[in-house]
């Protein structure tokens, strides 16, 4: 019997992977006949139930960064990694559902940049569309690259083969079935990821005879605490309360969950307003439990594989989950584990690609390159953008492979673009006096501030206890500069007339039936019924379920304090 980590797969493992591929491709081809217009392809035509969009919402960012990155973080910083969930995700998801989703959904925008055009002006939209398009293909490249190194290490496949094979499969199902196929596959992948990863956590706990004994085995006792020494910042993550609350809990998390089109797009595909608002709420329940699938294995890995984190690439923190699978899973289950990793990378990549093709087709191509073409033309362009997006992702994968740390690079991009953007949205949606040029220059200054702050950190003029703490503080700086500049410039520039802001700003909602229909010159009142929320029982209301979520999250924070 061999107990060494396996680096080879048996026939049964390949068979499991093959069955998965057949199902994924089958869904894409089955949906192909439904894709008749650019709306079907790029927006999924408002047809999808809330539980499907909810799980897709979660799965689209359950990519390489989440699965491998969070486990790596846990091995490096301990259970404080759970702050990315209980502090850095749940509150923002509830906020999106309760306060922001009605504006996104009711204004019938097709993308987040389109909201910026209607609320502000073309330059603000262009700035956001272009930076978002660049950001998504880079992210998608990170997923491809992470997968390639796993498959190279575990199965001995050449990096080039892994990259191109994964890209081809994602291309096949997104180019046939578009956003619907991507969303449907994300749901399928969601369940597979759980079934593939959960045995690691169960076996890990079984090995140590429960959480208490496992805690005692951790190399650093502080690894078992969420809030120990967070006032002084003398904890494994090097983060003080400002970094945690203002940086991670407010700016970075709200910036990502509330304004990143990759996640918002899933909710916009929901069949009606209530389904759209329930999307982040439904996603939040499994999200609360995800530390079991990502943080816990990281903690198991740091005990079971003591040499983890050494400079040898095969033993980097990122490899925590693949290494545990090799050490613990028998063949068969090992194939399922690999399939789960494959599924997570593919859903992460497809999520980015489908967000990219929508922003490219509607916000860049249709707006600035080819206006007033037929719908068939835009459908064709959507498909072409899917192919080109995947091709750029492949190139980005090779680019990422030349960077020493994936995670640092990615956090950097987020603090540049997402952090100031959240200030723009907050002011845009909740402060009617915000003007178009205030938003544009505020956003630009916020991005510039983040870049200047980064250069100063690199040059040593500003110092932080860890790279992570630096990222959190940078995002607070970028957000504050954007916020202050936007307000200041707004007071010296001319605001938009009130009637142009109807339905886009808090307190200026459109009249439920009349106006929504007149706007579209649509004689049939039934068409817009999906925009009106039917009367709900109290337990169906996003606000009530949101409070339940916050209470549960608070309890977990106290439990592991």
């Amino acid at each position: 019997m061999d107990t060494a980590p396996s680096t080879s797969a048996a026939a049964i493992d390949y068979a499991v992977i093959a069955v998965y591929f057949i199902f994924v491709l089958g869904i894409g081809f089955k949906l192909k006949k439904n894709m008749k217009t650019s709306d079907d392809f790029l927006l999924a035509g408002h047809r999808i139930p809330a539980w499907v969009t909810g799980l897709a919402f979660l799965s689209a960012n359950l990519g390489a960064i989440e699965v491998m990155g969070m486990a790596a973080n846990a091995a490096q910083y301990g259970i404080m990694t759970a702050h990315f969930y209980w502090l850095g995700a749940i509150p923002a998801m509830v906020f999106l559902a309760v306060f922001m989703m009605p504006f996104y959904y009711k204004s019938k925008i097709r993308s987040v940049p389109e909201y910026l055009r209607r609320r502000f002006n073309e330059p603000t939209r262009a700035l956001n569309a272009i930076s978002f398009a660049v950001m998504t293909v880079l992210m998608s490249g990170i997923n491809l690259y992470a997968m390639a190194i796993v498959f190279q290490f575990i199965l001995g496949w050449p990096i080039d083969l892994s990259i191109w094979l994964a890209a081809l499969v994602v291309l096949a199902y997104t180019i046939t079935g578009g956003l619907t196929s991507s969303i449907y596959n994300e749901v399928l992948q969601f369940f597979l990821i759980i079934f593939g990863l959960l045995p690691i956590s169960i076996m890990g706990l079984a090995k140590f005879d429960g959480w208490d004994k496992m805690k005692a085995a951790l190399p650093n006792p502080a690894f078992a605490h969420l809030w120990q020494n967070t006032i002084s910042g003398a904890n494994p993550m090097g983060c003080d309360l400002i970094a945690l609350f203002a940086g991670l809990g407010f700016v970075l998390s709200f910036g990502y969950w509330c304004t990143d089109f990759l996640v918002v797009q899933r909710a916009l595909a929901a069949k009606d307003l209530h389904a759209a608002r329930m999307t982040p709420i439904i996603a939040a329940f499994p999200k609360i439990l995800f530390p079991i699938l990502t943080v816990l294995p990281g903690l198991v890995a740091v005990i079971v594989i003591p040499q983890l984190g050494s400079n040898n690439q095969g033993l980097s923190f990122n490899m925590a989950i693949p290494l545990l699978m090799g050490a613990m899973y028998p063949h068969g289950l090992f194939g399922l584990g690999l399939t789960a990793l494959l599924a997570s990378f593919m859903s992460g990549m497809a999520g980015n690609v489908t967000a990219f093709n929508t922003v490219w087709t509607f916000d860049i191509y249709q707006s600035y390159i080819a206006k007033n073409k037929s719908d068939a033309h835009y459908l064709w362009m959507g498909r072409l953008a899917t192919g080109v997006g995947i091709l750029i992702s492949v190139m980005a994968a090779y680019l990422v492979s030349s960077f020493p740390s994936i995670m640092d690079y990615m956090q950097l991009i987020f603090s540049f673009f997402n952090a100031p953007l959240f200030a723009t949205f907050l002011l845009g949606m909740f402060f009617a006096r915000t003007t178009a040029w205030g938003a544009f220059w505020g956003l630009t200054l916020g991005i510039v501030a983040a870049i200047v702050h980064y250069v100063m950190t690199v040059n040593g003029q500003v110092h932080y206890a860890s790279v992570m703490a630096g990222n959190f503080h940078r995002s607070v700086v970028a957000w504050t500069i954007c916020f202050v500049a936007t307000v200041a410039i707004s007071f010296i520039t001319k605001p938009k007339p009130k009637h142009e802001l109807t339905g886009l700003v808090w307190g200026m909602e459109m009249e439920e039936k009349g106006e929504a229909n007149n706007q579209d010159h649509n004689p049939c009142p039934a068409v817009d019924s999906y925009l009106i929320e039917r009367p709900l029982k109290f337990y169906q209301k996003p606000g009530f379920v949101g409070i339940v979520l916050i209470v549960v999250t608070t309890y977990l924070n106290l439990l592991f304090r």
Binding site: I12, T180, V187, F191, Y329, P330
Partner: protein, 82 residues
Amino acid sequence: MLDIRKPIAWLHIVLGIMLAAYGYTGGAADLRPVGIMPVNVNVVWGIVMFLFGVIMLSIVTLAEVQAKIDSEKSLTETSGES
């Protein structure tokens, strides 16, 4: 349009049978993890996945039957009125 619950159900049924059969027929000659779990992990997890698939399939089948009954009911109602 495709009901995504169907492929999810069938995928778990197929994978569950594959895992359980492989574990049961002694294909897992290398019974990793040694000493962690006193059970045949492939068989147990295969059965869990299989059951998940069956439950999912029954839910979707029930929903289909219900939808069929509803549509027949509304059809007879409308034909009765006219």
